[in-house]
């Protein structure tokens, strides 16, 4: 976070400067949390907005009693399988469409039909076909993640630098090998970008599917806790799933940086 304009902790010795800067950067969040703690029970009723301490206690409790574990596990499974499928299919489809006109002509119109459709609108349909539960959630996560991945992979594969391909051909690379030696590696950065764009959609669709059509999972837990007035537990569940989403997003960014040392 670029806050040099405000405060430059250069005067402190290095390790301290680092820590001080970290603390300084996160003061705003601290302010929010403290504000929330103070407001709760004063400005707003504690049941409407439980204080962070209560939420923290509920979080600990959810883990200590093990209540959240099966829900978290099933949610992670759904997000993982849905995203994994969309990566596998999306990459194949995206690159396939760039390599073959027939494939492109066939799938293009479907992609342009589901492109403008908010994928959560398909939850009821999935429910119809697959009933409630994991299959439905996986299908929705899959569909929501598919497009960014297909589109990024397709774009990248279609726009591989002509001169890279020419160079490879000049050095004796045949059509077949070209795909593995040039097209795929040249496309990887964009594929990873597509996945990165897909992750938030994966979580949105997971929670949506679980709110509407599941008896398990974090979305369901949030809804159940809310409907019987266990508000600290409801907020705690939201905090937990948000932390998971946050970790997924920024963790993936780290991984991408590692993988793409060359970009």
């Amino acid at each position: 976070m670029a806050t040099h304009d405000l405060w430059t902790p250069d005067r402190l010795p290095d390790p301290f400067a680092g820590v001080a800067k970290f603390l300084f950067d996160w003061i705003p969040l601290l302010v929010l949390v403290v504000g929330w703690e103070v407001a709760s029970g004063r400005a707003v009723s504690e049941s409407v907005l439980p204080p962070p301490t209560a939420v923290a206690a509920a979080t600990v409790d959810l883990f200590a009693t093990g209540e959240v574990i099966p829900h978290l596990a099933v949610s992670l499974l759904r997000v993982g399988v849905g995203l994994g499928l969309s990566i596998a299919v999306g990459v194949l489809l995206g690159i396939g469409m760039s390599q073959s006109d027939a494939v492109e002509d066939f799938f293009d119109v479907f992609l342009s039909l589901i492109y403008p459709l908010p994928k959560t609108a398909l939850v009821p349909l999935a429910l119809l076909w697959l009933g409630i539960g994991t299959k439905t959630a996986v299908l929705i996560v899959f569909l929501a993640c598919l497009l960014p991945i297909v589109m990024n992979a397709n774009n990248a594969a279609e726009n591989v630098d002509q001169n890279l391909i020419r160079s490879a051909r000049m050095m004796g690379t045949s059509d077949r090998r070209l795909f593995w030696k040039v097209v795929i590696p040249a496309t990887i950065p964009e594929i990873l970008t597509g996945i990165r764009q897909a992750i938030p959609f994966a979580f949105i669709s997971l929670i949506s599917a679980e709110l509407i059509a599941s008896e398990q999972g974090m979305g369901r837990l949030i809804r159940d806790a809310g409907s019987i007035g266990r508000y600290p537990a409801m907020f705690a569940t939201i905090v937990i799933i948000s932390a998971v989403a946050y970790t997924a997003v920024y963790g993936f960014e780290q991984i991408r940086e590692r993988v793409l040392v060359w970009t």
Binding site: L127, L128, W129, G131, I132, G133, E215, S227, I228
Partner: protein, 310 residues
């Protein structure tokens, strides 16, 4: 979903309920109680899950992932009318009855200081219902009709049953409709009972019942019969061991033991009789058509059977 006959292992029955305790069948989920049943675990494997509404359960059945589910009048009739379940479905046992004069029923309560004491006082008021288009909702409409009002004369809001009491106390709603279990709380709060289904229906009718998919009945008849036997056995067991069953259920469903104790299979409970009374069933289906909850009626004998309750 368990495959066809014998072959590998014991067939699995996927069973779905909605409201714990109220659906007596929900007790099949309680391990201590299931232990006392004859066939579960031997003649068939029982897989119990809970859904948040009867339509969801029926959709599970349509999608092939449930064999027996608890249904109530409106969703059962709609599913039949729309042929939602491939091969069809059949009522195999009644879980509880509504509108039985000597038992508790589905009742509307209002806050003591609201001044609402009769159905006609509800005109123009905000009233809570768990979900529109349900059997519970139909009790309201039936009541309003009886007082010469229509469903448009009140404002319905959808809320979960457990939230009614605080909403009534905070004045967010004027009245709420309570099934028997929750009515225990409403009574102890001192709320006015405005009316109940027994006041507006001329006869009692099956409110919630176990419905099986015909596919399951055809594909694993023995297992289904064994399940039905256990379901009946469950009623016997509970009647004979009321307090053990109540405390096991309360701890399994994490409900206050006192509430369960004061309700469960007592005079505060619904009328419970497993027999599928096809006339009573036909009566309520026809009445729901009358009340505009269902488009058309049908012959219930094609969608219910008493063969398991003899």
């Amino acid at each position: 979903t368990g495959g066809g006959g014998g072959g590998g292992g014991t067939p699995t029955i996927n069973f779905n309920y909605v409201v714990p305790i109220e659906n007596a069948a929900s007790l099949l989920a309680v391990p201590e109680i299931r232990e006392n049943l004859e066939n579960a675990g031997s003649a068939y494997e029982l897989n119990v899950t809970r859904n948040s509404g009867t339509p969801t359960s029926l959709n599970q059945m349509a999608a092939g992932s449930a064999d027996v589910v608890m249904t109530s009048t409106v969703s059962f009739a709609s599913a039949v009318n729309q042929s939602a379940v491939p091969e069809g479905l059949s009522v195999v046992g009644v879980d509880f009855w509504d509108a039985a004069p000597e038992n508790y029923d589905v009742s509307v309560f209002a806050a003591p200081d609201s001044g609402i004491t009769s159905i006609s006082d509800l005109e123009g008021k905000t009233v809570a219902v768990n979900a529109l288009g349900t059997g519970v909702h139909s009790v309201y409409v039936k009541g309003l009709r009886s007082a010469g009002l229509s469903r448009d004369d009140v404002e319905f809001v959808e809320m979960g049953f457990p939230t009614y009491t605080s909403a009534l106390n905070e004045g967010k709603i004027d009245a709420g409709i309570y099934p028997a279990l929750f009515a225990v709380g409403a009574r102890s709060e001192g709320f006015n009972r405005v009316f109940g289904s027994a006041d507006v229906w001329s006869q009692q009718y099956p409110f919630t019942y176990a419905t099986a998919s015909k596919r399951a009945l055809n594909n694993k008849p023995d297992a289904m019969a064994a399940w039905a036997e256990d379901y009946a056995g469950l009623f016997d067991y509970v009647r004979n061991n009321r307090s053990e069953a109540a405390s096991a259920a309360a701890s399994h469903f994490e409900l206050p033991a006192s509430t369960v104790e004061s309700y469960f299979f007592t005079e505060n409970d619904y009328h419970r009789d497993l027999t599928v009374d096809q006339d009573a069933l036909q009566f309520i289906i026809d009445d729901l058509v009358e009340l505009d909850f269902i488009d058309e009626s049908f012959d219930v004998t094609e969608h219910s059977t008493n063969e398991f309750q003899n």
